[in-house]
């Protein structure tokens, strides 16, 4: 079997098409395992995994934890609040202390871009990036693209628009890399203040009119407005944002075609997406969550499965 060309999953940027396809094949196997009456299997028995979260997370942490448990790994959880980080310990010291307890893999989330890369240079375990600031969130992008593949049968040639706060979004960047590696066409759409200045240089289309964007696309991945990352105001009000960029049923009905609706969660209902759209048949939001566990199992299995 071919193996991943990397020892760590730091970002989609480090993966090529072959790697992603290998992960998807393995994901399909694990998805089947997750539909069995007994979902646990012993493939990562005796592997110890530390989930190190320096930033809040519900979904990603739960999903990783569940994936690790389904694979029979031993896990320890660490979150920065209430820990020695508050006493002034440096990042490397914290992580080295955790590793001194003989940990094989580290799943890490941090609010600063590049932290997993720094760790990968300094320590021996496999590192999986579970989100580093506004940089990358590779497992989210893998599960998003896998969900498109799973639902529609292919990713190549699909037109995907990513809507919303592109500037602060690690999901957007990872998704752009993943979709482009699989030869999909990508567009970003949002208020000009939330689009990075030179985003076009990544080879994506840029659009500020949501109707035009939706008319162009097959799949719309709608991002959350991240209020916690906005020290300054990028748009006048949430109400105005939802007027101009919110996805609602009338807008979709007026398009004369069906679009697959995705959202990485958590949803701000009534802001970037209305409830009737989020809960409609075109939405695969909950399938994304389901696939998330299988994708993470595949990544853990492929990175750990080497002696």
């Amino acid at each position: 079997m071919s193996r991943l060309k990397t020892k760590h999953l730091l970002g989609i940027k480090n993966l090529d098409r072959e790697d992603i396809e290998l992960i998807f094949q393995t994901t399909a196997n694990f998805k089947e395992v997750l539909n069995r009456p007994i979902k646990k299997n012993p493939s990562l028995r005796d592997v110890t995994i530390a989930n190190v979260f320096f930033e809040n997370s519900t979904r990603t942490k739960l999903s990783f934890e569940l994936a690790e448990k389904r694979l029979s790994a031993d896990i320890i959880n660490f979150s920065a609040s209430g820990s020695s980080v508050e006493k002034g310990e440096t990042l490397l010291d914290t992580v080295n202390n955790i590793l001194a307890m003989k940990v094989d893999m580290v799943v890490m989330r941090h609010s600063s871009p590049g932290v997993p890369h720094l760790l990968a240079k300094n320590i021996n375990s496999n590192i999986i990036n579970a989100g580093d600031g506004t940089h990358e969130h590779p497992t989210q992008a893998l599960l998003d693209t896998f969900s498109i593949l799973d639902k529609t049968g292919r990713v190549e040639g699909k037109r995907v628009v990513i809507v919303g706060d592109i500037l602060h979004s690690r999901v957007a960047l990872s998704n752009i890399f993943a979709l482009q590696a699989l030869q999909a066409e990508v567009m970003v759409c949002g208020p000009p203040t939330l689009l990075p200045k030179h985003i076009g240089e990544l080879g994506v289309e840029v659009e500020t009119d949501i109707r035009k964007a939706l008319e162009w696309c097959d799949v719309a991945n709608i991002l959350r407005i991240q209020l916690e990352r906005q020290q300054m105001r990028y748009f006048p009000s949430l109400r105005e944002y939802s007027q101009y960029f919110g996805i609602n049923k009338q807008l979709l009905d007026s398009l004369n075609k069906e679009i697959l609706i995705m959202h990485p969660g958590p949803i701000n209902r009534g802001v970037e997406i209305t409830s009737d759209v989020a809960d409609s048949d075109h939405s695969i939001i909950l399938e994304q969550v389901e696939n998330g566990v299988a994708v993470r199992m595949a990544v853990l299995y492929l990175l750990a499965g080497i002696g």
Partner: protein, 180 residues
């Protein structure tokens, strides 16, 4: 490299017929019995046995494919991850008699993994093992075949090469001596 032919197409057909009759002797009409082929190579043999049984019993015998990759005991002892194959079992095996089918029985470790993997689909009433080639005196764990196409004395360095029509070749099964 020396090769010895263990099965050709004709002998294979006769042997599969014999194995099927043995199975019918024990399992009658197969109402409470299912066949599970082990991935990757046991499935072709399992398919042939199912087809032969369907013909003999003029009925439909349940057949599933089982992949035991995630239950193997050598996962992190290799240089590469082991590629999983598809598992496809569309029936419940709870309280069923299960016949596991594989091409070659060697150390027995695959069978152990398969027994574990099968347990994730329920608790079978009874499990039997059918193999085409039983390599004697090479077991690492106490596993034995209930039905064997042919028992062969082999030494550790020899290899059994199975070529089946389903993989685009003629039906030929060889015993190969690796040169020192």
């Amino acid at each position: 490299m020396q090769k010895r032919l263990l099965f050709d197409s004709k002998l294979l057909k006769v042997t599969i017929g014999r194995l099927c009759r043995q199975l019918i002797e024990v399992h009658n009409d197969f109402s409470g019995t299912v066949i599970i082929g082990l991935q990757p190579r046991g499935i072709f043999l399992a398919e042939r046995i199912k087809n032969e049984l369907d013909r003999m019993l003029s009925g439909e015998v349940h057949l599933g494919y089982l992949d035991a990759t995630f239950h193997r005991d050598d996962l992190r002892r290799r240089n590469e991850p082991i590629a999983p194959s598809q598992t496809k079992i569309s029936f419940l095996i709870e309280d069923k008699n299960v016949i596991l089918v594989d091409d070659v029985l060697f150390t027995g470790r695959t069978v152990r993994a398969a027994l574990d993997a099968m347990n994730t689909f329920g608790r079978p009433a009874k499990v039997e093992l059918l193999v085409l080639i039983d390599r004697l005196y090479s077991r690492h764990i106490p596993v034995k075949a209930d039905y064997a196409g042919r028992k062969v004395n082999t030494i550790q360095s020899q290899r059994v090469l199975v070529e089946l029509k389903e993989q685009g070749e003629e039906d030929n099964i060889w015993l190969i001596n690796k040169e020192e």
